[in-house]
């Protein structure tokens, strides 16, 4: 059951090609596009703005609300438009992935809305969405203590790998998918899920691989943000 070579020739700890861009949606307070291989996510941030209905308002801290959605044509078999159980759960875990970095105390009674749309999917969509959302939050000027990065790691056949594509997720002899989000400054984990079969020591090793990959991702995200703001304020 040996997985000897990745289809696209990548090393086992190598991510697909990444493209990041900030400021892609004019109306939004902040926005970003993040592409990893053939997976493309865009994210837009609106707010802080008033939270309604009013009873949801909290005078002590604001709320981060994330919405994740896949466009109907983003996969082979069309997805019925509108929220699904899966998209609701991913919205929730996206919120948790980003929340530890956002200083919610700075906008009491308010909400920051994050909208993630998957334009094209080739696995790793929730992680791509989180990367885009973190950049969009930074672009919107939301006070944050770190810029979250996320990548899916896991096991394909007998090998631990970084950034599985769809063909690897569907690997016949078995694959395990483990999405991870990291706060690079403190090395803390804010998203952790797993589907498949792994042993504890493999999970720990895969987490270390995710950390390393996220550092690389983080540079690309920051570079994209810098690029937009370079020259401003002169």
């Amino acid at each position: 059951m040996s997985y000897t070579k990745r289809k696209d020739g990548r090393k086992f700890d190598e991510m697909r090609k990444i493209k990041a861009e900030v400021g892609v949606i004019k109306n939004a307070n902040g926005s970003a596009k993040f592409q990893i291989g053939d997976t493309i996510a865009i994210a837009a941030v609106y707010g802080p703005r008033n939270l309604y209905p009013k009873f949801l308002q909290n005078p002590e801290e604001g709320k981060l609300r994330c919405n994740y959605n896949m466009l109907s044509f983003s996969v082979d078999e069309r997805i019925r438009p509108g929220p699904s159980r899966r998209s609701k759960e991913i919205g929730l875990v996206t919120e948790r992935a980003l929340s530890p970095t956002v200083n919610l105390k700075e906008f009491p009674n308010a909400v920051v809305d994050v909208f993630v749309e998957i334009i094209q999917a080739d696995a790793g969509t929730r992680c791509a969405g989180i990367c885009a959302a973190a950049m969009a939050l930074a672009d919107a000027g939301i006070p944050m203590k770190d810029l979250v990065s996320a990548v899916s790691v896991g096991k394909v056949g007998d090998k631990l790998v970084v950034d599985l594509d769809k063909s690897e997720e569907d690997y016949e002899e078995g694959a395990t998918d483990m999405p991870v989000a990291i706060l690079p400054r403190s090395d803390e984990i804010s998203l952790l899920q797993l589907d498949g079969e792994m042993e504890a020591k493999e999970i720990i090793k895969a987490l270390e691989m995710a950390k390393k990959a996220c550092l690389e991702l983080n540079k690309i995200q920051k570079e994209a943000i810098r690029k937009k703001y370079k020259g401003e304020g002169k």
Binding site: D187, E188, I189, A200
Partner: protein, 259 residues
């Protein structure tokens, strides 16, 4: 329901005990009862302390997914009944109940606990759908573990109804044979509160926790994980949690096998 605050909870936890006197690595008492509802093909009630969840399994004949024409499937739903917690509201399923049922589903599916091929009646046309419905009766924290345990207990107690190929009808009164369930993926939830790692969080602990990790495992194989809570985890903490989850799954398994 008493609402203790975080400072007070931390004061207690710093003394290495919990508000209900448990040690950090202790579960509350677990009780499993099967066959609680006659018309279901399988059913069970699980109590973990005061948390109570009931699960019923119904079987229906349906069409298979095009990509797995020779396999039946499971459909897991969860409803947080309003009687279970004063904070639960009526209306469409909350995102929390969606998450709970999806994590139960993933533990069973990813560990291949059920042989879906044995649920095929006619390839490409008819398969058994196993509908697993979870109801929260009383929420005193950690409904996730109670729900998954109850689902497993109900599945292991499920008898297949009779399907008549001629009339294409299911006879629910005549049941024979067991559901092809071969493994028990036990879910164990661990809370991180401050620097402390606690097994089986109670209601107050669940409300005040920083992060939670649910781990579905069989022996030393881990088949599903789900992190909850808005706080973060360090790699060392994940390591501790995985170790505890594997340790705890043996005990839960003994309980369920006695049934």
């Amino acid at each position: 329901m008493d609402n203790i605050n975080k400072e007070y909870l931390m004061q207690i936890l710093n003394k290495k005990i919990r508000t209900d006197g448990r040690k950090f690595e202790d579960y509350r008492d677990i009780e499993i009862e099967t066959d609680i509802s006659k018309n279901a093909e399988g059913s069970a009630k699980v109590r973990i302390g005061e948390t109570e969840v009931i699960v019923g399994v119904k079987l229906e004949v349906g069409t298979p997914y095009p990509d797995n024409p020779d396999e039946g499937t499971i459909i897991v739903g969860a409803e947080f009944l309003q009687m279970a917690n004063p904070e639960f509201e009526s209306g469409p399923p909350s995102v929390q109940s969606v998450e709970l049922s999806r994590v139960v589903d993933r533990g069973i599916r990813e560990s291949k606990a059920i042989d879906f091929k044995k649920l095929c009646i006619e390839e490409g046309k008819k398969v058994w759908l196993v509908l697993i419905d979870i109801y929260a009766i009383n929420d005193d924290g950690n409904m996730q573990d109670a729900a998954s345990l109850a689902a497993l207990a109900a599945l292991s107690n499920t008898k297949m109804p009779k399907y008549d190929k001629e009339t294409e009808k299911v006879d629910y009164k005549e049941r024979k044979g067991k559901l092809p369930l071969s493994k028990m993926p036990i879910e164990c939830s661990l809370a991180k509160i401050g620097e402390h790692i606690l097994v089986d969080p109670g209601l107050d602990e669940e409300r005040l926790l920083d992060a939670k990790l649910t781990v579905a495992s069989i022996g030393n194989k881990i088949h599903a994980m789900q992190k909850a809570g808005v706080g973060t985890l360090k790699v060392e903490e994940v390591e501790t949690m995985l170790k505890l989850a594997i340790e705890k799954n043996k005990k839960a398994l003994e309980k369920i096998n006695k049934k």
